[in-house]
């Protein structure tokens, strides 16, 4: 298991994908927003928490198809299924590796990008906290979607279509935490919901992902 995690991280770094690019995409989305909606500061401030969460979500989404597709194409997945690793473990590790290479950098970078969108002062800790709590759920859900679409040639867009509605609750609660935090309101309720969703998905979804993957390998 550790070997798998290490390999996935090594591949992420080596393949030139990994850390840098998820971040770069996040940065670019955040930068493009003012071009799209215009540069008025109050408007940007109002939408800042939402845009940051959306950007994180899209950056996550864009790298989902790397989670399993490469291993499928070169046959590694077949070989892993016949190895002593349980598939539940494989998908969990894959989700973890995805989070470390995509979610974690976003959590760390979000406060910096918040400045670009004039996020109000009290929002920063809440934004970071909500992303730290929410992005693992995004990775786990994404792995489920990746397992569903793994047999299909370049299921990239199908994957997005399947995964995005699943992202809705996480996005709503996450953005709500950041929004309330930025507005100085009490963000406890959505924060708890967010934590609940994350724990629930982490506890249960790997089983669904493994089952689905087993069917796809058949």
């Amino acid at each position: 298991m550790i070997a798998l995690l290490r390999r996935d991280l090594a591949l992420a770094v080596r393949a030139g994908g990994g850390f840098g690019l998820g971040l770069a995409f996040f940065l670019i989305v955040v930068v493009l927003v003012p071009f799209g909606v215009g540069p008025e500061t109050p408007l940007l401030t109002a939408i800042a928490p939402g845009v940051l969460w959306l950007g994180a979500l899209l950056a996550c989404l864009l790298s989902l198809d790397r989670i399993l597709a490469l291993d499928w194409e070169d046959g590694s997945l077949d070989l892993m299924a016949t190895s002593p690793l349980p598939l539940e473990g494989v998908v969990t590790i894959k989700a973890l590796a995805h989070w470390v290479t995509t979610g974690l950098p976003l959590v760390l970078a979000a406060p910096v990008l918040g400045v670009l969108l004039n996020l109000p002062g009290p929002g920063y800790p809440w934004l970071t906290l909500s992303l730290a709590l929410g992005t693992p759920a995004l990775s786990v859900l994404g792995t489920f979607g990746a397992a569903l679409t793994v047999g299909l040639k370049r299921g990239g867009l199908l994957l997005s279509l399947l995964v995005l509605p699943l992202y809705v609750p996480t996005l709503i609660f996450g953005a709500e935490v950041a929004r309330r935090g930025a507005a100085g309101l009490d963000p406890m309720t959505p924060l708890l919901m967010l934590a609940g969703i994350t724990c629930g998905t982490i506890a249960l979804l790997p089983f669904a992902s493994a089952a689905v993957l087993r069917m796809n390998l058949r």
């Binding site: 390999r7 090594a10 591949l11 070169d74 046959g75 077949d78 190895s83």
Partner: protein
Amino acid sequence: MLVKASDLAIARGGVPVLEGLSFALGAGEALILRGPNGAGKTTLLRTVAGLQPALSGTLEVAEESVAYAAHADGLKSMLTVTENLSFWASVFGQSSIEAALDRFNLRSLADRQAGTLSAGQKRRLGLARLLVTGRPLWVLDEPTVSLDTASVQLFAAAVRAHLAGGGAALIATHIDLGLEARVLDVTSHKAVHRDIPGGFEEAFL
């Protein structure tokens, strides 16, 4: 007994391809599968490896005994030869990859990225993976594709050593490997009973 199949029927894409297969492999034995293209050899090997269910009949495979090598080698082109092997070694709980490197003459390529190997060199690396699994039953799908004659010899020697060490091998191939082994020609087992229970279209006929 490492594998034992009796009256096995298998299907691919919902269509039965082979039926009435019976064979058994114990320690030290090898079985070579032959048959024309599209006969169903790959399908049979995938079934033995546990990747797909059999249609009917019984198939007993010893727990955690299979090392499967498919057409695709499962190599990561961004990792070096050593890294690729070490990864599989630790997945299968083995520690040393030295023997595998030596046996398949990969020593001089050890630090090359797998993506920059030639077709035959990649295949050698894929076969070396078998040695680091420590599993007794090798299930090999056309293992010698794109190997030159010297490498085919290397491979045959590796299989012989594996058998001598109490392993077994089930090999689908179109060429002569120079191994002393039983041969199972699947041609005569072509599925004719289209109504084998369990075929997923069966319910609709």
